[in-house]
Symmetry: D2
Subunit: 316 residues, 4 copies
């Protein structure tokens, strides 16, 4: 599974690493592009990355849940990481989803991400032996990964898919590790997100995990957001962050309210297939999800189009 | 179970009803006062009501979850409703928790609340035959209760205790009923709260159900809050609402952040026994919860005191 | 809520108590009969009780989940208990579901059941403040109820409705109390049922809570069953118990297999409304469930009839 | 990831395939052997396989949950499959756990298993995008895998780890596929297991997924069991099956009861680390689990030893 030379961009030697990465602002967890046969479509992915490069997004998260990471082989993961690293414009942060189901695989993939110039690794809680993922097991897991990593580690709390919720106590403990620098919190429990903020130092970045509660997360002390919606509406998501930063709360509220229906459509309702369909309607490459996930049916696609049209953000 | 005359204040004839009730602002779901033997302590309750009357609270919610409603007999419920109705100062709204486990008992208790001058009835989802509480069953339930009620009906979504979450679709459908005027949402899912707001007319009041996400609820379009914390810190909760209304978001954020640890202590961590202990430390009558709920143990009480002291709001 | 004299049968003085009650065999949790207006129909109930009296059932459980106990007022509960006590034939055990949401109400209703001559009280876990129902709270609750009761107490584990599962450790601890004599286990986890058996003395009766796993419960050491199906097919359920007792396992297996589809229809699929509809088709009084529960729709009724016909047990 | 020739045993050409595989009896889901550094220990694994070969076990399930399949790389999975195929004695069935998170990986690993001579593939429900795993998605998934496979496919229902429960309707539909021949059901819901049996033809093998309800599963119509306990106590598990087959139910009950505490220790309580520790105490190679799973702590090991000693099956 070791990296072939052609991917070996060593991006962080060029632009520097630890001194430039600050986990703040707006990051989309980008989808992985597949062709109709279900194979990787690196050119399509690179094309999308170029489009996102031309937006004010702070960086990209590669191989998150929206990147269908569990449905890629180890080799494919490296290929995707390399493709994005090659296509990205300088100045954007690159975060790699490197969480695997064994400690050693997570460490190895993190090392590959570091070599490819990624700024940080985002590591989901292991998601199979869920009742066995005690606080102690999770603590040792993250500490082992963080200790071995050449790049900073970001926690990834995703109860809907991973079936585990990281407690405030656990996050507080892990935040004390010098190489654990933040958390993407997709739980949707705004109180817990506020408690994460309060239980960790300000240098530890708590990131809202959804466009539906981005502003609320910020109001509760989050440092930014990692959210599917930023793939589709990067300008609008960055605008929302800017409005918040400028303390223009009234407009921020209004924009947040407008984003909820679009975001629910491409996450809760239609999920990855919906996000991909929406991207196709908006100038990006969408393409099919990888099986077993199924593309939208015709009637679903029509419904989605209606929702997007109504939102006013996307003409289709 | 019919009301004896001595309770028969017919408060709403005096102060008028439909024209004065607007469900907006800050309401505590008040605890029911018990003596050490576990019996009702109406004088203690009346004393607390007088204290709350002297605050800027918009009204009181009697017989909510913090009022230990499921642990009272039908007669005791009427006694509590009457006690509060007698003790409250004019101008405060009175909302009665009247949700029982059968449609007919809910209708009957709602009628008694109306006769006692209550402004509205808050009705929790039935909470025993949970897998049987389909959308259809809930729709017919609330419509039957609303049709029979002489006062407006407020929905009460409380998944943590009741084990049921009301969908956005169901709430939208029920909001179309002329006598269903709002929802107390204690789910803690800020996205769903925002969707409730968007799926209902502005005349339908969505109320944040916890002091930990009061500001976030308001930012998402809520019309106020019904929250345990308002029992203990009524001035601070009203201040937060005022700051929001004045669009002083920066100070509102700060105050919200300060309230989270206190609120978590008296809700998530120590719940009703914790709220009662905190009230005792702050000039109100707290008293024991009713069994099977147990009062705080000594060590828990010490921990709670520490938390309250740290918060700066309560000297103890 | 005290009992009027007309109900005051003091049945256990006539037939003796502790020496005759042995919790073994087959007991239906009988439904409560309502008329079309939703009121109690005591004559209909008495009629059913007479029918059940003429079967080999070991006794009746009154005010269980199938008895819609949470949907009755305290007065109605006493009326139902009294009606059954009057109508039952001598020699059948009478068990009252007396679990309420406060310790004091449970104790009071248990006392009324004892006065009415009931042989034992079955007490469900409190089901509203579910996250607060710690092992400690449950332990103190059951010990308080058992200490106050003049009749033996039976635990009732019903996670589907009550939202709480009693651990093996808790049941083992409670089984040590001299006045706690058994458990109705409706969890459907056969391993846990086996562990209950192994963690308690043989004098403690573990009863299978469903006709779908009656034989399996017996094979795992249960002492009998308390099951909805025994309302509808008392002879067949008793036959199954007899086959087991006679060690005629091959026939028992066959009969158990035949009972599963009928039982699933009147429990998991259509629940109380289904059981009542099936009773109507089989010579008993069924009648409507009490609202908010809704009677079967026409199409559901036709489906149920088909299932019952196929089963061969009921011609309809 | 294609197989190197050295593994290429093509076992099923030698012993025949479809005509010899019948999924009946007792199968352990064998653990994967790791050395102290966390690497594969193929010799240790082969040693264990030789020991199991000398027992009456009907075959082995490789790469099940107890085989820590999610914690192995694709290459390691093939290595483990090959190692077992080489070490196994003729006449034992070989079943490969080939469920991955994408349809294409599952198909590929199934093909490799077939080439290595495996008799069947056991495929767990995909376990990451759990709320997206609708009946339709699962139906298409299993049909695609079964259509592509050169060996029969076995469903694997494992709600505790995978977070998904396969409905009776889904299993019935899939059982109609000519290349889907059975299910390992680890849900522990004996009623559902009975319904699986009743909803599928007798040629479809329903296998109890735990030693705690093996006999109960058989009584409900299961065709055998795939259970962790059979690793540790193969003779006893086979004895239980034999007693059942001989209709010696009384002895079977007794033996089943004796096995429950041992099985709970090595599954529910201590899980894979416990099973491995127990194997070490009983003449097999246990070794450490792979991280993030942690080996037993000293105190846990002592407790486990006590339990095993008490059981009488294992002297330690």
């Amino acid at each position: 599974m070791m990296l072939t030379l052609s991917y070996n961009i060593i991006r962080h030697e060029v632009i520097g690493m630890a001194d430039t990465f600050e986990f703040r602002g707006v990051y989309p967890p980008i989808p992985t592009a597949f062709d109709d046969a279900g194979g990787l479509a690196p050119d399509r992915l690179a094309h999308n990355v170029e489009l996102w490069s031309a937006t004010p997004l702070d960086g990209l998260v590669v191989l998150g849940s929206n990147g269908e990471f569990p449905q890629l082989t180890p080799d494919e993961k490296v290929k995707v990481l390399a493709t994005v690293a090659e296509a990205i414009e300088e100045g954007k942060d690159l975060i790699a989803g490197t969480g695997c189901l064994s400690t050693r695989e997570t460490i190895e993939l993190t090392a590959e991400a570091a070599e490819l110039g990624y700024d940080a690794a985002m590591v989901v809680t292991p998601y199979y032996y869920r009742p066995r993922m005690t606080e102690k097991v999770l603590l040792e897991y993250y500490e082992a990964v963080a200790a071995a990593a050449d790049i900073p580690v970001i926690l990834y709390n995703m109860p809907t898919f991973a079936g585990i919720n990281m407690s405030v106590e656990l996050v507080a403990q892990l935040a004390a590790h010098p190489n654990i620098v933040g958390i993407k919190d997709s739980a949707g429990n705004i109180t817990q997100l506020a408690e994460y903020v309060q239980a960790t130092p300000d240098s530890f970045a708590v990131m809202a995990g959804s466009g539906s509660f981005f502003l609320h997360g910020l109001m509760a002390g989050a440092h930014g957001g990692v959210m599917a919606l930023a793939n589709l509406l990067p300008w609008e998501c960055c605008k929302l962050y800017e409005l918040f930063e400028e303390e223009n709360y009234a407009e921020a509220r209004e924009l947040q309210a407008q984003l909820v229906p679009v975001n629910q459509a491409v996450t809760a309702n239609y999920s990855i297939p919906g996000l991909k369909a929406a991207l196709s309607l908006h100038g990006y490459y969408g393409g099919p999800p990888r099986r077993p996930l199924l593309p939208l049916e015709k009637s679903e696609l029509e419904e989605l189009k209606g929702l997007l049209r109504e939102s006013g953000f996307i003409g289709c």
